[in-house]
């Protein structure tokens, strides 16, 4: 079966990457189930372990959001959804960001009160297979187990997120890659309890919660930017997407075009493009001319899914930013 994003049939290599990303996300979910169970069984009264457990629970959201979004975006556009369902990616992203933010804020508050009220976490013996062992060693072992696989998963997902232009996948990969810090933080907290430093546990919990909160703020900014029809950015929300300039360049190659500017909406995986053309003096503006530009832009990249070309007398101020030179003049020598 060929996968689609709405009306877009995916190129073969992109489709292969999408399949791989889906497999990785299923693998992440399977791993998280074991991790959450393990940590729950050993966490006891260590605040750092409880914060790490909460983070593991939250880690379920991005893989699930990704898998759901891939399914939903395949639905073809209809009269009720004339732009397709790509935006479901963004909504899933926003929801994950809000979950991170809320949980992060709660945990920061919780570990701060733990620190201020000078909670001394008790960690005693457990009996495992007839052996008496200090429960802290079990916690350390659990955190070593839960700390390593996410880093590998995150490294595998990162290039796919870049190629698929998927912000949810990127957010997931980014959180995975940072997961070893959570694990190390918990280990330091537990060893701190063992070394008789009572505040080490709350401090480690505070560190972990702050990192959850920071993830939430960063993701919220990127997700709401995309949903607010911000200019298309790269998958990590750091830079304007290079496709915009490539489109403007291609449009200006047409002879009837004097000046042109584009607006790009990031729909999730794909882009919706509006091209504004100021026609050259005396040039004929007809359906064929408009269609030629549309096809040239569509051919540029699989991500360009929906192109509307219109002719105008003047370009909107908001689209022309002189210092970037993005609204390109047509070169009359061609």
């Amino acid at each position: 079966m060929t996968r689609r994003f709405g009306d877009t049939e995916l190129p073969e290599d992109i489709e292969r990457m999408l399949r791989r990303a889906m497999r990785l996300e299923w693998l992440s979910i399977a791993f998280l189930v074991t991790a959450v169970t393990t940590v729950y069984l050993v966490m006891g009264s260590s605040q750092a372990m409880q914060a790490a457990w909460a983070e593991d629970l939250l880690s379920f959201i991005p893989p699930i959001a990704f898998l759901v979004a891939v399914r939903v975006t395949r639905i073809r556009p209809s009269r009720r959804h004339p732009y397709g369902h790509h935006r479901s990616v963004g909504i899933g992203h926003l929801a994950s960001a809000l979950a991170l933010l809320t949980m992060g804020a709660f945990l920061v508050w919780d570990s701060t009160t733990g620190l201020l009220s000078q909670d001394h976490p008790p960690v005693g013996l457990v009996v495992v297979l007839g052996h008496e062992i200090w429960a802290g060693w079990l916690m350390v072992a659990a955190m070593i187990y839960t700390g390593i696989p996410p880093v590998l998963l995150g490294r595998a997902k990162m290039p796919l997120a870049r190629a698929l232009h998927d912000r949810v996948l990127y957010a997931d990969a980014d959180m995975n890659k940072a997961d070893w810090m959570t694990a190390l933080g918990s280990i330091v907290g537990v060893l701190g309890i063992g070394a008789g430093v009572w505040w080490a546990d709350s401090a480690a919990a505070l560190f972990i919660s702050a990192s959850i909160l920071r993830d939430g703020v960063r993701n919220l900014r990127v997700a709401s930017g995309a949903l607010m029809d911000e200019r298309a950015q790269t998958y990590d929300g750091q830079d304007p997407h290079p496709l915009q300039h490539r489109i403007e360049a291609v449009v200006c190659e047409h002879l009837w075009v004097d000046r042109a500017a584009v607006r790009v909406r990031d729909q999730g995986h794909v882009f919706h493009v509006e091209v504004f053309v100021v026609p050259a003096r005396g040039a004929e503006v007809g359906v064929p001319a408009l269609a030629a530009v549309r096809e040239a832009v569509t051919r540029l990249d699989w991500k360009v899914q929906d192109v509307v070309v219109t002719a105008v007398e003047e370009l909107l101020d908001a689209l022309v930013e002189k210092e970037h030179g993005s609204a390109q003049e047509h070169d009359p020598s061609r």
């Binding site: 008790p122 013996l125 009996v127 350390v140 008789g196 009572w198």
Partner: protein, 171 residues
């Protein structure tokens, strides 16, 4: 044990866990933030006793401050045995659960016995030990009996738990 030696053995423990992380309960980890186990060894085990026969009782009535009285009961015998393994004397303090838990939280006591059960409401105020014995109530549900130690004094907690798990208690 000097501070330097403790720090070194602590570092050794951290290193060890990186290599093996199994079967290390023999290692001196964990330590007490307030050095309870050390103080018990050099001074005395301070036990809060709230009456709850057959676990704890004041056969001659609870002592008012200044008066001397010896408690009895299953848990009293257990703690007497534990103190012997540490070569420590025992100081018995009478009081209500509420009072004793407050004193435990402030470090004026090392352990509180009151026939506590594992479902006790005090688990957020004190460190509850593993259960050293189980009985059944009238409805046949299992009751697991525990003691309370000062929260965070994990070396002392582990020492007491190790002792309790070695005992055969049949109330």
């Amino acid at each position: 044990m000097s501070v330097r030696v403790r720090a070194a053995s602590s570092a050794a423990c951290v290193a060890l866990v990186g290599v093996l992380s199994v079967g290390l309960s023999a290692c001196a980890f964990p330590y007490d933030p307030e050095h309870t186990l050390e103080k018990v060894r050099s001074d005395a085990l301070r036990v809060g006793v709230s009456e709850n026969p057959p676990w704890t009782a004041w056969p001659d009535g609870a002592p008012v401050p200044g008066e001397e009285s010896e408690p009895s009961g299953v848990e009293i015998d257990l703690l007497t045995g534990f103190a012997q393994t540490l070569d420590a004397d025992v100081v018995w303090v009478a009081g209500s659960e509420t009072d004793l838990m407050a004193q435990l939280d402030e470090g004026e006591l090392d352990v509180v016995v009151a026939g506590l059960e594992s479902t006790t409401a005090w688990s957020s105020h004190a460190a509850i030990t593993t259960s050293y014995a189980a009985t059944r109530d009238d409805a046949g549900a299992e009751i697991r009996h525990v003691m309370a130690t000062r929260a965070g004094e994990n070396d002392f907690l582990v020492a007491l738990e190790t002792y309790l798990l070695d005992q055969e208690v049949a109330p």
